[in-house]
């Protein structure tokens, strides 16, 4: 049986959860440990923390958030952001994270994916792929470009090719975010997730754009995602995890009931 996971995403900036639109315009959404415990109690299947700041002081803050979360949350959680070396991954895993997410550093040095997988096992390694649609000549097949540094830097890499390479290097999971949709509430970029899911045998988490519960259903069915990730709809209290799961189940998507 294949069950689809529902994952709230907590973007963390200097120890607080924030949320933006198209990777900018941030607003405060609360204490990460408090939110994590609430989502666990609501029936979240996993949690993702993304450390969206860059300074080393804030990195230490993040390790502290991870350690405090591990004290009271007994579901899996991924921590990404600022992981540049095997030692960064070790610090987060030892603090209590179950998986580490990498993006920028993996693009700079793809061998990091293999190093992390060798050291901790593929199941610990999540590669975050932030992708934006490329405008091609009319009639050309759709294409997406990989961005790094929180969406600020274009890499020239084709997202489909890059995703395949990540899986081959030992990524245990791909977290695919559509930058065009992030924060827009227009739904996932289903073609992006479907294309990557069709090429890669590792689990895929769809991210970016959820504004209503039908978007989660679309991600699981049309987007071929193994997990659906959302932030605003949960942080703003519009929907609970339980409501999201009930909606998925009613649409015929197998989920762990909340």
């Amino acid at each position: 049986m294949r069950t689809v996971r529902v994952i709230p995403c907590l973007d963390v900036d200097d120890g607080r959860v924030v949320k933006g639109v198209r990777f900018t315009d941030l607003f405060d959404a609360g204490d990460p440990v408090e939110l994590a415990a609430r989502y666990d109690a609501q029936g979240a299947d996993e949690l993702v923390f993304l450390d969206i700041t860059a300074s080393s002081d804030n990195r230490r803050t993040m390790v502290d958030v991870v350690a405090r979360t591990a004290e009271q949350v007994f579901i899996p959680f991924t921590v990404g952001g600022g992981v540049r070396a095997v030692d960064d991954g070790r610090r987060l895993l030892r603090a209590g994270a179950d998986k580490v997410g990498v993006n920028t550093a993996a693009v700079d040095r793809p061998g990091l994916i293999a190093d992390l997988a060798d050291e901790f096992g593929s199941q610990c390694v999540v590669v975050a792929v932030d992708a934006r649609r490329r405008l091609g000549p009319e009639g050309s097949p759709p294409a997406w470009e990989v961005f790094t540094h929180g969406g600020r830097t274009a890499t020239g890499l084709d997202a489909l090719v890059w995703a395949e390479r990540c899986a081959a290097l030992g990524a245990g999971e791909l977290l695919v975010t559509s930058m065009d949709r992030d924060g827009t509430r227009d739904g996932f970029d289903l073609e992006l997730t479907r294309q990557i899911a069709g090429r890669c045998q590792v689990p895929l988490v769809a991210s970016g754009g959820v504004g209503e519960l039908d978007h989660l259903v679309e991600g699981a069915l049309e987007g071929a995602a193994d997990a659906v990730l959302a932030a605003s709809i949960f942080h703003l209290g519009e929907f609970t995890i339980a409501e999201a799961k009930a909606h998925l189940a009613a649409a015929g998507v197998a989920v762990r009931p909340a």
Partner: protein
């Protein structure tokens, strides 16, 4: 004291934290002499079979594990720690397991994604570890390999066919899923293990529940 064997592989902290949450005096232990004095042993493990098997041997903790089983101490293997209780694994035929359970670890069925990284439902035949779990019992799996089905098997899950989820032989238990990451269901299972340790060591059972 419950010794969570720390042989330097991956995130072992979550097993320790979850055992403490259900009231156990659980500690990560990397010193074989200290581990030898424990009332119960937890053998966690993530990653792949070969490196885990070799790290367990070179740390000196494999001997502690064999000795604890020989003395009849309550013993719980989790994920790769469960797989290590078998004789070997298709993942790395050059590495040996502890051979406490007969049989080998095999790759998950074809036609499904590897790893299985999701929550799944237990199909329990009979088990002293899984008593009192809700029906259905949802637990969290992350793995690409699982032990073959034998007379020790106590539960399976459906993932491209029946996949072994747990096994037991006397006071030796193992789970392919992660009870320490399976929310309240998992904490209840760990609580059963802690109660078995308390009973075997003749102490009053822990009163702290999940």
């Amino acid at each position: 004291m419950i010794a969570v064997l720390d042989y330097g592989i991956g995130n072992l902290r979550s097993a320790e934290k979850a055992l403490q949450k259900v009231g156990a005096d659980a500690r990560l232990v990397d010193d074989p002499a200290l581990a030898a004095g424990a009332d119960g042993i937890v053998l966690p493990g993530v990653g792949s079979f070969g490196p885990c098997a070799r790290a367990l041997e070179s740390s000196g903790l494999a001997e502690v594990a064999r000795d604890a089983v020989a003395r009849g101490l309550p013993f719980l293997g989790i994920c790769v720690g469960f797989q290590l209780l078998y004789e070997g694994s298709e993942e790395d035929p050059s590495a040996s397991g502890l051979g406490i359970f007969p049989g080998v670890v095999r790759r998950l069925p074809v036609g499904v994604k590897h790893p299985q990284m999701q929550w799944n439902v237990l199909d329990i035949t009979q088990s002293n570890l899984l008593v009192g779990v809700p029906d259905p019992a949802w637990v969290y799996f992350v793995h690409s390999f699982a032990p073959e089905q034998t007379s020790d098997t106590t539960a399976t899950c459906d993932y491209g066919g029946p996949v072994v989820a747990s096994a037991e032989r006397g006071p030796v238990w193992g789970t392919q899923f992660h009870p320490e990451k399976s929310g309240t269901v998992g904490l209840g299972i760990l609580s059963n293990f802690v109660a078995a340790v308390d009973a075997a060591s003749g102490r009053t059972p822990s009163s702290v529940g999940a």
